[in-house]
Amino acid sequence: MHDRLGARPLVLLALATTMTVGACATASSTGEVAINGAAPMSESAQATLADREQTADQQVQHVLNRLAFGPRPQDVEAVRQLGVDAWMARQLAPERIDNDATEAMLRNYRTLDYTADRLLAEFPPPNVALAAAARRSNGPVSAEDSIALRKQARQAAQALGELASSRVARAVVSERQLEEVMVEFWTNHFNVFVGKNLVRYYLHDFDRTVRQHAMGDFRALLGAVAKSPAMLTYLDNWQSVADSGRPTLQQLPPRASARRAQALRRAAAQRGVTPQQMERVQQLQQRRRGLNENYARELMELHTLGVDGGYTQQDVVEVARALTGWTLERGAQGGGFVFRPQTHDAGAKTILGVKFPAGRGLEEGEAVLDLLARHPKTAEFIATKLARRFVSDSPPPALVARAASTFRRTNGDIRETVRTIVTSAEFFSADAYRAKVKSPFELVVSTLRAMQAPADATARSAQLVARLGQPIYGHQAPNGYPDTGEAWMNTGAILNRINFGITVAADRVPGVRLARWPAYDSLRSLDRAAQVDGVIRTLLGGATSNETREVLMSGTNPLLTRRGGMAADGQPSPAGLAQIVGLALGAPEFQRR
């Protein structure tokens, strides 16, 4: 066993090298890869059943914790029946999984299919509503208006919050679990923040965008995100225009100039100054407009190449110039993506050593995205993040190299890159088992799944995730939430998690009723030892340390405690079982996946 462990990375590294130099590789329909001239995949990179260090039971738990948000009570048996590999293959083809029940559940939400325009019209931002009220009353806002405005703001918050709630609900009940995992992954990779400007109105659309491409083509995903109102707003690209003095692709049309002059005359007349004076004031008041590098920088640092991707500050400027004119139809007021030649920097550019000739328009930005998406550093960066999500905080370099190779070979096929990772020997290694600390989102969702909770149509499940430290769409910085155990574990976090487990076992979490937990009926009347074993089996994946078992066994005899006193019929009480469940959910084992 140890010998094999030592030798394996070398073999894999060698293989990765062959692939990067272009060995002819073909993907078969099952996703297995055969390489001409090299050993068959089943004996090298791809793990055969015999290669896997994890026991059969562990593998079942492992795939349910990594390709899904943890097992529901019936899942373990279902995966065992179908076989681990067949189940994974099925998850890798979500379009073929019947998900009608989830679609039906989603119809409980009113606004999920709303466009941003419709959301803005029906739930205007507070300042817009306030301005409208002020116009109506021609001065200060009346008390009645204030009350109405507050009510309106509440309704808006509720409607806009539906999306975050639906994200939790989907993760809990969707049969397409891997797709949901990938939606979570990409949403975090392309992080946007709900609190910036109008982003909250664009999130419904953003979720549809991410979802459409989550298992698809990376370049398509990158392009769709680049043009999404959420990202254009969050990273400011909508207001990035050619610096003054630079030639633009097209001059302002004469009619727009005329309109602008007319507006200036009107404003000047209102204030009793000359149009020249007014123009001067407006110039002073206008923010210095020009190039905004924000999106260009994060596009390379966080979305594609990675921080060590070898780009320079000059590359950031040149990419920003190439993306000038990628904006929103109505600017700060929203609207969909539009390319404005009048603000597009028409000069020549050099990006990562590649020359872009002068005079190109929208297609120039597309070519930049092509360049970035196909860059080997991007393959490496995305492969590293995926391996970190699926395998461990410090994924084995050989595995990352193979995943990056798949990414390059398939021109950024996300599904195939994930397949390379989750079918690897490293994925099924003993080291990888329970190596990941659950994020708050994963903790809440896996708990709800373990307890067989139905989808929660209220905002409360999403609030639980937020309270545990991971508000959905609530990460301000563009880097997204961390994906390492160190980042999620600290004094406050563990306390909140333990309390969450207690709350669940006390029936105080929406949708969770201990009495509706499938194991409840079979366990409630058993003795303590049998209850503990049952809870360990269903909630902690069957195997746990002797110490944990001892602690679950110890403590007050539920037959004798006051609150959980003997039930009327003299049988062991449900309160005792509730306590075991609460302890198990608060145990260190349940914090891992």
Binding site: N127, L130, A131, A134, G139, P140, V141, F193, K196, N197, L235, V281, L284, Q285, Q286, R287, R288, N294, R297, E298, E301, V437, A466, R467, G469, P471, G474, Q476, A477, P478, N479, G485, E486, M489, N490, T491, G492, A493, I494, L495, I498, I502, T503, S545, E547, V551, L552, S554, G555, T556, T561, R563, G564, A575, Q579, G582, L583, G586, P588, Q591
Partner: protein, 431 residues
């Protein structure tokens, strides 16, 4: 006195259980040290929404102020017919009449106001400006951590240091945000506790031995990050229990407002007095985005300011002599337009005002310089111009109060730290 005995006893009994209550031990020891050697604490208070600096620190000596705000301006201190005017500080600038508590602090030499201070960034977006102020990196998006957390990380947890010389760096309560979630300013690698209230920091079960059994789950088994955090947490619970926060009585007759902000400040005082090793505390308060019906000497902003002043003043009173080791820093993302707008309010502006409060400030002086309010003196023709970069204040506080010798890792790219009037290169807010 009682508390000290309890803490020592608590630490001892933990030792007998075979735990390693290193921070507890140091906590108990630190209580015996002379006051001069005690750890320093910094409390940062954020006024979210952009407080109207011109009506907080009122330039009653500037004629342009009154021209720009016919309805909103605060009258000069010598008002006829008894109307509420500004509280004179230096003959030119004064405090809003709601800030009577701050005037007391000024008279005692505990208050250092800073004028025309803020972010050099041109942004008028709340989001961006708060982000810049909390990361300490204006115009740089994507800074992953907040500046307070970078301070904590740079200073490190000095396990081998003598107690008192380096605070109680291993304490789980070294950095506390009185907030539901960790705010941007405290995000980062160094551990932080975020809580709405101290009583939230407890195990929510009243069923007999559940807490002991939970603790046992984390005591046994592996020594990984999950178990380690769990063990630290149960130790922290014991510290808080010893501090007995639910029985708290403020000292020196301090009466905190019942507002959420006042209550949060009271809890910060509790943590400081409990000796849990609090080095950095944070709280924020909203409601400053006064676009409509702002009011003048009375009204919306006046009410906000009264709560703000009363809360901070109570905290200072409650902490008493401890204010020698405690510094309070107030900030807001930017100021507001010089001119009042059409709906009785003000819009997003540029430079603002800050207050530094504590026993070590250079008091009875308004710091910074006044840029003037004539049109050509305004920033972009409309806002109070900036004369002091907020990083000058943050860096001085980090260096001279918290004792970090090199602040360059906390404020990357900032080189203005040595341009002030303090002789030694600082702004001179601290003595």
């Amino acid at each position: 006195m009682h508390r000290r005995v309890f803490l020592k006893g608590g630490a001892l009994s933990l030792l007998t259980l075979g735990l390693s209550p290193s921070f507890l031990r140091r906590t108990a020891l630190a209580m015996d040290l002379p006051r001069a050697a005690r750890g320093k604490t910094l409390i940062v208070l954020f006024q979210r929404g952009a407080a109207d600096a011109l009506n907080v620190l009122v330039p009653f000596g500037d004629r342009d102020y009154y021209a720009a705000r016919p309805q909103l301006a605060i009258g000069s201190p010598a008002r006829p017919n008894g109307a509420l005017g500004a509280i004179d500080l230096d003959g030119f600038l004064g405090l809003h009449p709601s800030l009577t508590g701050f005037k007391t602090l000024w008279d005692r030499g505990l208050l250092a106001p800073i004028q025309a201070v803020g972010s050099p960034s041109a942004t008028r977006s709340h989001f961006d400006a708060q982000d810049y102020m909390e990361t300490g990196t204006p115009d740089r998006k994507g800074t992953p951590d907040g500046w307070l957390n970078r301070y904590l990380a740079v200073k490190g947890t000095c396990e081998s240091c003598a107690p008192g010389t380096d605070g109680i760096a291993g304490s789980p309560f070294r950095a506390v945000a009185m907030a539901a979630q960790t705010p941007r300013i405290l995000e980062g690698a160094s551990p932080v506790v975020a809580m709405n209230a101290i009583e939230e920091f407890s195990i929510r079960t009243n069923s007999g031995d559940a807490q002991q059994r939970l603790e046992a789950l984390y005591r046994t088994g592996r020594s990984d990050v999950v178990h380690g955090s769990g063990r630290d947490m149960f130790e922290a619970l014991k510290v808080l229990k010893a501090a007995n926060p639910l029985q708290y009585r403020p000292a020196n007759g301090a009466q905190y407002p019942r507002s959420p902000f006042g209550q949060r400040l009271q809890q910060i005082a509790q943590l400081i007095k409990a000796g849990v090793g609090l080095e950095v505390a944070f709280a924020d308060v909203g409601g400053w985005d006064t676009h409509v019906n702002q009011g003048a000497a009375q009204g919306q902003l006046a009410n906000r300011l009264r709560d703000f002043s009363d809360s901070v003043t109570s905290l200072v009173a409650d902490l008493g002599d401890r204010m020698d080791d405690v510094l309070i820093l107030t900030c807001s993302e930017f100021g507001r337009t010089v001119r009042q707008n059409g709906t009785g309010g003000t819009d997003h502006g540029h430079a603002g005002a800050m207050f530094v409060i504590g026993g070590s400030v250079h008091g009875r002086k308004v710091h910074g310089t006044w840029p003037g309010l004539a049109r050509e003196q305004l920033y972009e023709g409309r806002d109070l111009a900036l004369t002091t970069d907020f990083r000058a204040v943050f860096a001085e506080v980090t260096a001279r109060h918290l004792g970090l010798t090199d602040t360059s890792a906390v404020f990357p790219g900032y080189r203005g730290g040595n341009g002030g009037s303090g002789g030694d290169g600082w702004l001179g807010v601290l003595r």
